[in-house]
C-alpha cells in the first residue's frame, strides 16, 4: 500500500479515455435498441396492456321482457330482489367475514365456503361475488347494521323473474335460472348471477326477452377506484311478448285436469295459434329462479307423475281410435273406400289363427264409412287396414304430420312414431306381420303421437288441408308446414263424419254436443297393456296404471270462429267419459263464454296430497265405483256417463 501512496504522480492512463468513450457508445446502442424493441416493436402489445390496466367494462342490466297472455294479462314480470355480494378486494379477512355472513343469514358456513370456492374463479376483480341470492328484509337490515365493520359486504339490488301463475303455465313458459359456466363462456355479456331462460318459451325466446345490456367503460386507478365513466350503448329492455295463450282457458284446463295426468290443447286451426296448452301435473316456475335445493330437485325429478314433463308436446301416447280419423282419410285418399258401401260387423275378424275383436263384441251389423266413425267400429277399420297395408297407412300418417315434431316454440318436443316395414325390420330384426296392420288401423301397436300432433291434424282436416305450425306468440305470421293429401271433398267427408259422431245420439261423442255450435269429435281409448283375461274381468276396476288412456279430439265451429280442442287424460279409462267433459267444458268456454267448471264428474279430485306416492294413490282411488252405462243425454249430463268403445 505504501508504494501506491508514494508513487510518482506523472502517469496518465493510456487507454482509460478510450474505454470511457467506448462505454458511452455502448450505453447508447444498448438502450436505443431496447427502446426500439419495447416502444416500436412491442408498442401495440404494451398499449393493449396499458388499456387493460386502465379500463374496466361494466355491463348495465337490461330488464327481461314481460310476458302477457293474448288479452294482455301479465304472466311473467320482474320484481326486485336483494342479494348479498362480497368484493374480495375490499375484504380484510375473508374467512372471518364468511363466518359472520353464516351467522347473519343462517346459511351454514360449509355451504358458504362451497359457494365462495365455486364462484371465486368466475368473478373478476372488484366484482362482487354473490354469496346469498335472495335476502329477506330482516337479513338486509341485519347486514346493513354491521356493514361498516365488515368491509367488502355489499347488498346487490337485482331483479328476479316472477311468474304470476307459476303452476298454470310452467310447461309453456318454462323458467329462468342463473347462467352457468358454459352459457357465460358462450356469451361474454353474461355475468355471474344473470338469468337465462332454461326451459319453455323463456328458453326459446331468450334472445328476444333478454334484451341488450348497456356497456360502460370505467376508468380506474391501481386501487380500482373509479375515475371516469363512458357509456357505450344504453341498456335495451327485453321485448314484451304477447302469447297466444288465453289465461282463462288455460286456467280452466288446469282445473279440469286437477289431480290427474293429462294434456289439453286448444288451437286456432287457421292461424295455428295455441290458446291453451295444459299439462298436468305441473310445477311452479318460480321454484327455479332462486335455485332449487338438491332435495327439491330430486323431488321434482323422481315424482312418479313426472310434473316436469309437458304432456302435450313431450309425451307420446298410442292414439287409439282417434287414429281412425287418419286411417279413414288415408282410405279416401287412396280410393280404397266408397263412403256409401257397407261392411258387416259381426264383432270380430279372424286372421289366420288369431281373432281380432270389435270393442262391441256383439257387432255393429252393417256399417258404412260414416257409421263406422260414429260408433268407432273396429271391424270396419280392420278391413280398411288390411286393404291399405302398413306402407300406405304410414305414408299417409307421415304426410298428415305424425312422426315428426310440429315445430312449436318449445324445447325437447317429441315427434312420436309411425311404424313401417323397414322400421320394424331394422328395430327388431323381425318382419312386419299382417296382424300388425290391423292393430295399426285402430291406433294401437307401435303408433304413438303427442296431443299437439293430433290437434294439428284435426286443424288440417277442417281448414282445407293446411298443416299449421302451432304458434305460441300472438299475431305472428301463420306458418304452413305441410299439406294434407286430401281433396276438399274428402276432407269434408271426414269432417261430416266427426260432426255426426257428436250429433248422432249413438255417436261416441254425443255428450260434447254444444247448442249453436257445429261440433265434430272422435274419441280414443288407448290400451296401455295387453289386457289379460283377469284384467278384463275387472272391467273398470283395473288398477290405475293398467287403465286405458282417454282421448277426445274435436273441433267447434261458429260462424268464422273455429277451434280445435284435444284432450288426453292418462289412464282416463274411456275417451268419452275421461276426456269428453274436458272437451265439452272447453267448447263451452270458447263459444258460450262459460268459464266455470262443468258438473263434478271430472273435477272430483281431492286436494293434491303431499307426497308423490300419496298423490298417485289419490289418483288411483278417483273412480270408486264402476261407471254405469246410461243412455246419453245432453241437457243434464248424468253423474257417471260412459260411452264404451
Amino acid at each position: 500500500m505504501k508504494n501506491l501512496l508514494s508513487a510518482s504522480s506523472q502517469n496518465m492512463p493510456k487507454h482509460g479515455a478510450a474505454l470511457l468513450q467506448f462505454l458511452v457508445l455502448g450505453l447508447f446502442c444498448l438502450f436505443a435498441i431496447r427502446l426500439w424493441y419495447l416502444q416500436i416493436h412491442l408498442g401495440e402489445v404494451f398499449t393493449d396492456k396499458s388499456r387493460n390496466n386502465q379500463l374496466r367494462i361494466e355491463y348495465l342490466f337490461a330488464p327481461r321482457g314481460f310476458l302477457r297472455d293474448r288479452n294482455g294479462e301479465l304472466l311473467a314480470v320482474n320484481e326486485p330482489a336483494f342479494a348479498l355480494g362480497l368484493v374480495r378486494e375490499d375484504c380484510e379477512d375473508i374467512p372471518a367475514t364468511l363466518e359472520k355472513v353464516a351467522e347473519l343469514t343462517d346459511i351454514p358456513l360449509e355451504r358458504l365456503k362451497e359457494i365462495y370456492a365455486r364462484n371465486k374463479p368466475k368473478v373478476k376483480s372488484f366484482e362482487p361475488l354473490v354469496l346469498a341470492p335472495d335476502l329477506t328484509f330482516d337479513t338486509i337490515a341485519k347486514i346493513e347494521g354491521v356493514s361498516v365493520r365488515w368491509p367488502g359486504l355489499e347488498i346487490l339490488s337485482r331483479t328476479r323473474r316472477k311468474y304470476n301463475y307459476g303452476h298454470l303455465l310452467s310447461h309453456v313458459l318454462g323458467y329462468v335460472s342463473e347462467a352457468n359456466e358454459a352459457e357465460m363462456q358462450a356469451d361474454p355479456t353474461l355475468s355471474l348471477g344473470d338469468f337465462v331462460g332454461k326451459q319453455g318459451l323463456e328458453n326459446r325466446l331468450d334472445d328476444r326477452l333478454r334484451g341488450t345490456k348497456g356497456k360502460r367503460l370505467i376508468e380506474v386507478d391501481v386501487t380500482g377506484r373509479r375515475l371516469s365513466e363512458e357509456q357505450q350503448g344504453e341498456p335495451k329492455a327485453g321485448q314484451e311478448t304477447f302469447l297466444s295463450i288465453d289465461l282463462g282457458l288455460q286456467q280452466l284446463g288446469h282445473r279440469l285436469l286437477e289431480g290427474k295426468s293429462g294434456a289439453v290443447v286448444v288451437m286456432d286451426p287457421d292461424s295455428g295459434e295455441v290458446h291453451a296448452l295444459v299439462s298436468e301435473p305441473s310445477y311452479d316456475s318460480n321454484m327455479f329462479t332462486n335455485g332449487l335445493s338438491s332435495a327439491q330437485w330430486a323431488q321434482l325429478r323422481d315424482d312418479p307423475l313426472h310434473p316436469l314433463q309437458n304432456r302435450a308436446t313431450q309425451s307420446v301416447y298410442p292414439p287409439g281410435s282417434v287414429f281412425k280419423l287418419v286411417i279413414a282419410a288415408a282410405a279416401l285418399h287412396y280410393g280404397l273406400v266408397d263412403p256409401k258401401e257397407t261392411v258387416n260387423c259381426s264383432g270380430e275378424v279372424a286372421l289366420g289363427s288369431h281373432v281380432f275383436r270389435c270393442w262391441k263384441h256383439s257387432g255393429h251389423g252393417a256399417v258404412n264409412f260414416q257409421r263406422a266413425l260414429v260408433e268407432s267400429c273396429d271391424v270396419y277399420f280392420y278391413r280398411l287396414g288390411m286393404k291399405l297395408g302398413v306402407d300406405r297407412m304410414s305414408a299417409f300418417a307421415k304426410a298428415a304430420g305424425f312422426g315428426t315434431p310440429t315445430g312449436i316454440d318449445l324445447p325437447h318436443e317429441k315427434g312420436g312414431l309411425i311404424a313401417s316395414k323397414e322400421w320394424k325390420l331394422k328395430r327388431f330384426g323381425v318382419r312386419w306381420t299382417k296382424g300388425e296392420d290391423l292393430n295399426m288401423s285402430i291406433g294401437q301397436g307401435y303408433t304413438v303421437t303427442s296431443p299437439l300432433q293430433v290437434a294439428r291434424y284435426i286443424g288440417a282436416v277442417i281448414n282445407g288441408g293446411r298443416l299449421m305450425r302451432p304458434a305460441l306468440i300472438k299475431g305472428e305470421q301463420p306458418q304452413v308446414t305441410g299439406q294434407l293429401p286430401l281433396t276438399q271433398e274428402q276432407a269434408d267427408t271426414v269432417k261430416r263424419a266427426m260432426v255426426a259422431t257428436v250429433e248422432d245420439p249413438r255417436g261416441t261423442c254425443h255428450r260434447v254436443l254444444t247448442p249453436g255450435v257445429v261440433v265434430g269429435a272422435k274419441t280414443g281409448s288407448a290400451q296401455v297393456v295387453r289386457l289379460t283375461e283377469e284384467l278384463r274381468r275387472l272391467g273398470d276396476n283395473v288398477p290405475y296404471r293398467f287403465r286405458d288412456h282417454a282421448w277426445m279430439a274435436g273441433f267447434g265451429e261458429q260462424g268464422n270462429k273455429r277451434f280445435v280442442v284435444v284432450a288426453m287424460v292418462e289412464h282416463g279409462l274411456h275417451g268419452a267419459s275421461g276426456a269428453g267433459p274436458v272437451v265439452k267444458a272447453m267448447l263451452n268456454a270458447l263459444f258460450m263464454g262459460k268459464r266455470e267448471l262443468p258438473p263434478q264428474d271430472v273435477a272430483g279430485a281431492a286436494e293434491p296430497a303431499a307426497s308423490p306416492a300419496a298423490r298417485l294413490e289419490a289418483v288411483e282411488t278417483q273412480f270408486p265405483e264402476p261407471p254405469q252405462p246410461l243412455p246419453p243425454a245432453f241437457v243434464e249430463p248424468p253423474r257417471q256417463e260412459v260411452t264404451p268403445e
Binding site: M1, N3, L4, L5, S6, A7, S8, S9, Q10, N11, M12, P13, K14, H15, G16, A17, L19, L20, Q21, L23, V24, L25, L27, F28, L30, F31, A32, R34, L35, W36, L38, Q39, I40, L42, G43, E44, V45, F46, T47, K49, S50, N53, Q54, E219, V220, D221, V222, T223, R225, R226, L227
Partner: protein, 371 residues
C-alpha cells in the same frame, strides 16, 4: 494564489454545464407530470417538482462551492474522510433510524443524513488518490489493497440493507481500476473468477432482494408481487410507442399503476409520455453528458484530476445503466435512482457537487503546475 482566477471563468466547460441544465430541466418537468394523481374529482398535484427545484438550487450552490477551490487539495482529505465514513457506517446499525425496514439514516436533529451517500464520495476520492499514483498497470497486490478498501464500506452498506448503493460503491471502484488498466494475466484470471464468486453473494442477500432477482428472470411468475414493478414499467415505456401519450397524458403513472414513479421509475413516466422519440433525445443528452465528463478525464492536467473525473464518470455511468436498464427490464429491480431525473434531495445535491468537481478539474486544465 487567489482561489478564483478570472481566467478560469472563461475555461468553464459550458457544454457540460449546459447538458447538466438540460437534464435537470427535463427532470423537473417530468416530475411535474409524475406528481399528478388523477382522482375521481380531478387531478391532485403533489409537490415533488417544487421540492426537486429547491434541491437543485441548493445543489447549484454546492456545485459552485466545489468549483472554487483547487481540486488537488482533496488529495490529502481522502484518508481522514475514509475514517469518518467508516465510523458513521458502523454507527448506523447502533443509532440509525429505521425507515421502511432499512436502517440507513442517522438523525442529526436538523436533518437526516445518509452515510452511504458520503461513502460514494469517499470511495471516489480514495480511489482517485490510490490509482493515480502508480506508473504501470495494476498488479495483484495493488488491486487487492484497493478492492479491500472498497469492500469494507460496501459490505456495511449492503447490510443496511441497501444493495443498490453498496454495489455502486464497488462498481465505481471497479470502473476506476479498469480506467487505470490491470495486468493482462490478472484481467483474464478475474474474468474467470468473478462469475464463480458471484453466486456466493446469493447467501448475503435478503429475501426480498432474492425475490427481485428471481422475478427479473421471469416476471410472469408473480405479476402482482415482485414482478409487478418490471411489468408495469415495461408497459409504461412500451405503450409510449413512437411519440408517447403526451405530456401529463400517461395513464400508467397518473393512475398509479407504475410504482415509485417519482423516484426509481421516473424515467418510465417520461418514456410513456414522450415515446421513443423523447427517450432517444433524453438518452442522447445523457450520453453527451457522460462524453463530456470522459473528455475532461482525458484532457485533465494531471492524473489525479483525470482519475477524479473518471470516478465521477463511473458514478453517473453505473447509475444510468442500472436505472434505465431496470426500467426497460434489462436489470433486476435495485434501488438506484437516475441522476437528475429521479426525485431525491441528497442525491441531487451530491450529483451537482460532483459535476462541480468535474468542472473544477476541467477549468484548471491549462494552469501551470504550482507545486
Amino acid at each position: 494564489m487567489s482561489p478564483i482566477d478570472r481566467r478560469m471563468f472563461y475555461h468553464v466547460n459550458w457544454r457540460l454545464a449546459g447538458l447538466l441544465a438540460a437534464l435537470f430541466a427535463i427532470g423537473v418537468l417530468n416530475l411535474y407530470s409524475a406528481s399528478g394523481v388523477r382522482l375521481g374529482e380531478g387531478v391532485q398535484m403533489e409537490n415533488y417538482y417544487q421540492k426537486q427545484f429547491i434541491w437543485g438550487a441548493i445543489g447549484f450552490l454546492g456545485m459552485v462551492l466545489f468549483m472554487i477551490f483547487d481540486y488537488r487539495r482533496l488529495h490529502s482529505a481522502a484518508w481522514p474522510l475514509y475514517a469518518v465514513t467508516l465510523l458513521l457506517l458502523l454507527a448506523v446499525p447502533l443509532v440509525g433510524k429505521t425507515v421502511l425496514g432499512a436502517r440507513r439514516w442517522i438523525d442529526f436533529g436538523l436533518f437526516n443524513f445518509q452515510p452511504s451517500e458520503l461513502a460514494k464520495f469517499t470511495v471516489l476520492l480514495l480511489g482517485a488518490r490510490l490509482l493515480s499514483g502508480g506508473s504501470e498497470k495494476l498488479n495483484l497486490k495493488e488491486l487487492g489493497s484497493v478492492l479491500a478498501l472498497g469492500f469494507l464500506p460496501a459490505i456495511l452498506i449492503i447490510k443496511q440493507p441497501d444493495l443498490g448503493t453498496g454495489m455502486l460503491v464497488l462498481l465505481l471502484l471497479g470502473g476506476l481500476v479498469l480506467f487505470r488498466g490491470i495486468q493482462p494475466w490478472l484481467f483474464r484470471t478475474l474474468c474467470v473468477l468473478v462469475p464463480l464468486v458471484m453466486p456466493l453473494f446469493w447467501f448475503v442477500l435478503k429475501d426480498y432482494q432474492k425475490r427481485r432477482i428471481l422475478s427479473f428472470l421471469d416476471p410472469a411468475t408473480d405479476p402482482l408481487g415482485s414482478g409487478y414493478h418490471i411489468l408495469q414499467s415495461e408497459i409504461a415505456v412500451g405503450s409510449g410507442r413512437l411519440f408517447g401519450k403526451g405530456f401529463l397524458g400517461g395513464t400508467q403513472s397518473q393512475l398509479r399503476f407504475l410504482p415509485e414513479k417519482h423516484t426509481d421509475f421516473a424515467v418510465a413516466v417520461f418514456g410513456e409520455e414522450w415515446g421513443f422519440f423523447g427517450m432517444i433525445v433524453l438518452l442522447s443528452l445523457f450520453c453527451g453528458f457522460l462524453y463530456q465528463i470522459a473528455a475532461v478525464a482525458r484532457d485533465a492536467k494531471d492524473p489525479y484530476g483525470s482519475y477524479l473525473a473518471a470516478g465521477v464518470f463511473f458514478y453517473f455511468f453505473w447509475q444510468t445503466l442500472i436505472n434505465m436498464g431496470m426500467v426497460m427490464g434489462l436489470v433486476p429491480v435495485v434501488g438506484v435512482p437516475l441522476p437528475f431525473i429521479s426525485y431525491g434531495g441528497s442525491a441531487t445535491i451530491v450529483n451537482f457537487c460532483l459535476v462541480g468537481l468535474v468542472l473544477n478539474v476541467s477549468m484548471r486544465r491549462y494552469l501551470f503546475k504550482q507545486t
